[in-house]
């Protein structure tokens, strides 16, 4: 353990209410000690739940751990507490950039630029995004993690990236057409077997049955089907009338949170489908 980490840890141990957890957490994050940084940030937030900088720190750690969904929530929370928080605006711009939503990325960068006109990184990222220089923009954003090469493209999302940047994009999200054919995403069961195709085949029937049930029972247009299983939870949504989205998570993810994940994934899928039209 380095001297500065030791010193800050001692300071925090002496006064657990101290805001020194912000410096300690950031130092640990920068050194790649993410689990330790995570613990420090969470302990700090327990004592200071309404501290915007605490949520910002936690979001950066989550982003480093590639838990983008929760990082989004934390930066969103930061902005609710402190609407002009530059760190949160930059963080959200980074996440929007990652999923290819350049409009939202620019909008958040503009807000950050208004709040901190002297921040050279923001100004640079803004200029680069507007000028179509995606790689430069990622650098200017001082992203908490290095931008993945596949995400650095500013063009429309390609098929493999329907859910890019979303939590569990490679193994718990599936987008199908009305006939049960896979449009994007993939599913693996607990034994790591690829179950994408059989699940897709069954889901086409579920979608039709859900639509029929909602119509005949006077429930209006169906907007979601959520189910708790003994080993995991699923959520079905329709990003468009001709498509079906499935989100699967283990039981540790509460149903309400799963609905939020599904909503965001549906928005990503909608954008992707519009790009294909």
């Amino acid at each position: 353990m380095s001297d500065d980490v030791r010193a800050l840890s001692a300071q925090l141990a002496q006064d657990p209410q101290s805001l020194v957890f912000l410096r300690l957490g950031e130092l640990l994050r920068q050194r790649g000690l993410l689990d330790a940084a995570h613990r420090v940030a969470l302990n700090g937030l327990e004592r200071h739940p309404h501290l915007a900088d605490g949520h910002d720190l936690y979001a950066r750690i989550l982003a480093d751990k590639r838990d983008y969904e929760r990082a989004f929530d934390e930066w969103d929370m930061t902005l609710r507490i402190a609407p002009g928080h530059v760190g949160a605006l930059k963080g959200l711009a980074f996440l929007y950039f990652k999923i290819g939503d350049l409009g939202q990325a620019v909008s958040h960068l503009e807000a950050a630029n208004r709040a901190a006109p002297d921040d050279a990184g923001v100004a640079q990222a803004l200029a680069m995004v507007r000028g179509g220089d995606a790689a430069g923009a990622a650098q200017g954003l001082e992203a908490p993690v290095a931008a993945e090469p596949a995400v650095a493209s500013a063009g429309p999302l390609d098929e493999a990236r329907v859910f890019a940047g979303l939590e569990g994009a490679r193994e718990g999200l599936l987008l199908l057409d009305a006939s049960g054919r896979v449009l994007g995403g993939a599913l693996r069961d607990s034994s790591d077997t690829d179950v994408t195709e059989p699940v897709a085949a069954y889901l086409a029937g579920v979608s039709q049955e859900a639509a029929r049930t909602a119509k005949l029972l006077g429930l209006g247009a169906w907007t979601g089907l959520a189910a708790e299983g003994r080993q995991g939870h699923v959520h079905l949504a329709q990003p468009s009338p001709e498509s079906l989205l499935l989100v699967v998570r283990d039981r540790s993810v509460p149903m309400g949170r799963l609905a939020i994940i599904a909503q965001r994934a549906a928005q990503a899928a909608q954008r992707w489908l519009e790009g294909q039209a």
């Binding site: 859900a210 005949l216 089907l225 003994r230 699923v234």
Partner: protein
């Protein structure tokens, strides 16, 4: 289990604000076992559709590796269908307003399912 006992099991479900009706459905054939529905809700249709959807959803969930369904909830713009399957092959079903307290209905359905067995 007797008819009055079925009625008691459904009673607490229908007491939740926003629940239009509750019923017990045989999952295998989609037939009504017991019902407490508001006027205008067709019990036979609810039973058949809930049974069919439960079977299809169950197969998809098994294929996805998340195991048997414990509770499911179909949300519509004008209402919701909430279902808890029991070990004996009976579905405890509630039809509700779109803004019903889903968490509370879920608890009452699980409790009723425990009574039905």
């Amino acid at each position: 289990m007797t008819a009055p006992a079925f009625a008691r099991a459904l009673d607490t479900v229908t007491r939740v604000r926003g629940v239009r009706g509750a019923m017990l459905v045989s999952a295998g054939d989609g037939l009504v076992v017991a019902e407490q529905l508001m006027e205008g809700i067709k019990g036979a249709a609810v039973a058949a559709l809930a049974g069919s959807l439960a079977n299809r959803l169950g197969r998809a969930m098994e294929a996805a590796g998340v195991g048997e369904s414990v509770f499911w909830h179909l949300q519509g713009s004008e209402g919701a269908l909430l279902v808890v399957p029991t070990a004996s092959g009976v579905l405890v079903v509630a039809v509700a307003e779109p803004d019903v307290n889903v968490g509370l209905v879920r608890l009452e359905l699980l409790r009723a399912a425990g009574e039905v067995g």
